[in-house]
């Protein structure tokens, strides 16, 4: 499994692996928002938590297909499915690779973008923490969406339709953590909810994803 992880990481980082794409999209989004809503500092400050979280979410969405698509296309996924490794484990490892190459960079970039969006200063720590806790959930839930649409020709838009509603609870709690922190309120309740959600998702989604992969591989 470690070999699989290293392989996926290497593939993602290589040129054409899409490594910087999510990050670039995140930056572009944070740049576009003020052009859309106006540069007023207080307006930006109030929407910054949401924009950062939605941005992270959409950036994750962009790279979801890659989790399984490439391996599916060249038949590697079939081989992996019939290997002695449990498919659930393979999904978990691939989700981890996705998080390391997409989610984690977003966490690092977020405070810089927060600066651009006039995020209140007391929110930065909570921003980092909420994204750190929340982006793994985005990866495992996203992997489920990728598994469901594996092998579909025009899967891109369908993945968004399927995955974005699933992202709603994570988004609600994640953004709420940052928002409450900015208002000086106690942000621990949504933080705990977010943590619970991530733990639950990490535990359960690989099973659903594996089931979806088995169905998709059978039919192809």
């Amino acid at each position: 499994m470690k070999a699989l992880l290293l392989r996926d990481l290497r593939l993602a980082i290589r040129a054409g692996g899409g490594f910087g794409l999510g990050l670039a999209f995140f930056l572009i989004l944070a740049t576009l928002i003020p052009f859309g809503v106006g540069p007023q500092p207080d307006v930006l400050a109030s929407i910054a938590p949401g924009v950062l979280w939605v941005g992270a979410l959409l950036s994750c969405l962009l790279s979801l297909e890659r989790i399984f698509a490439l391996d599916f296309e060249d038949g590697a996924l079939d081989l992996m499915a019939s290997s002695p490794l449990p498919l659930e484990g393979i999904v978990a490892v691939k989700s981890l690779a996705h998080w390391l190459t997409t989610g984690l960079p977003l966490v690092v970039a977020a405070p810089l973008l927060g600066l651009m969006l006039n995020l209140p200063s007391q929110s930065y720590g909570w921003l980092l923490m909420s994204l750190l806790i929340g982006t793994p959930a985005l990866s495992v839930i996203g992997a489920f969406g990728a598994a469901i649409t594996v092998g579909l020709k025009r899967g891109g838009l369908l993945i968004s339709l399927l995955v974005l509603p699933l992202y709603v609870p994570t988004l609600i709690f994640g953004a709420d953590v940052v928002r409450r922190a900015g208002q000086g309120l106690d942000a621990s309740v949504p933080a705990f909810m977010l943590a619970g959600l991530t733990l639950g998702a990490v535990a359960i989604m690989p099973f659903a994803s594996a089931a979806a992969l088995r169905a998709g591989l059978k039919g192809s």
Binding site: L152, L162, P165, I172, F173, D176, A215, G216, G219
Partner: protein, 244 residues
């Protein structure tokens, strides 16, 4: 002699063919009685005026929006566990009905809400949950259309329905946390329907609710029959192509 006999497509077609006219007539009757009674023969509410009449459509449709998804969940599980095609096709057939019910609930909720809350749309937990449910229906239907092999489509949509159900519940809780909501504090029963409604409103409401439920049964029988036929047609066409 058990319910599972009707997993056999032929038996299902036979039974549903017999049931369909009765359920159709029953639905028409109940809905007409409920709605006409409610619309013409009930008083206005002293607070809400004549908009209270919207309740006879809003509550039944909201109830069905949720119940249809539950039915899809059950039939999806039956497909995953026992591989009865009729079950998978019934879920597929039910989805558009649920989607329309959700849309009707949203539309009537919004139109009712405008005179009451001053706005057509409010990010109220219940309305928001229904919006999310609508998106789930859309995704489910889109997935059926996107996958070519219909057995694979049945598998994928069933898993999607399961996961969607979990997240729908999660979202319901999350949206309540996110916005404590306008529905709170009013005695307007939105999704549940009974409790705080006066008797004079309750009877036509109950009739409408049953009417909508029977309407769903009639429609899902009709649509499932279409799906069963479509599947048989696809098999025949495939066989023809192979022997040609």
């Amino acid at each position: 002699m058990s319910l599972w006999e009707y997993a056999n497509p032929r038996k299902f077609m036979a039974l549903s063919g017999k049931l369909l006219p009765w359920t159709a007539v029953g639905a028409a009757l109940l809905c007409c009685v409920g709605l006409i009674w409610g619309f013409f023969f009930t008083p206005d509410d002293f607070r809400m005026g004549s908009t209270v009449k919207i309740i006879y459509i809003h509550v039944p449709s909201a109830m069905m929006a949720i119940n249809v998804w539950v039915m899809m969940l059950v039939t999806s599980l039956i497909w995953l566990i026992r591989r009865h095609h009729v079950s998978a096709l019934a879920a597929k057939a039910a989805a558009p009905i649920g989607m329309v019910m959700t849309l009707v609930a949203l539309a009537t909720g919004a139109i009712w809400g405008n005179p009451m809350w001053g706005t057509y749309w409010a990010w109220d937990p219940r309305l928001t949950s229904f919006l999310i449910l609508f998106l789930f229906y859309l995704g489910y239907m889109a997935l059926w259309e996107a996958v070519e092999d219909k057995d694979t489509a049945a598998d994928l949509t069933s898993v999607m329905c399961l996961v969607g159900s979990v997240f729908a519940l999660l979202s319901r809780y999350a949206t309540r946390f996110w916005n404590q909501g306008l529905h709170q504090g009013t005695s307007v029963p939105v999704a549940t329907g009974e409790r705080t409604v006066d008797d004079v409103f309750f009877v036509p409401l109950a009739i409408s609710m049953v009417g909508f439920a029977v309407l769903f049964v009639a429609l899902v029988l009709l649509r499932t029959r279409t799906e069963v036929r479509a599947r048989r047609l696809a098999v025949l066409n495939a066989r023809e192509r192979m022997s040609a």
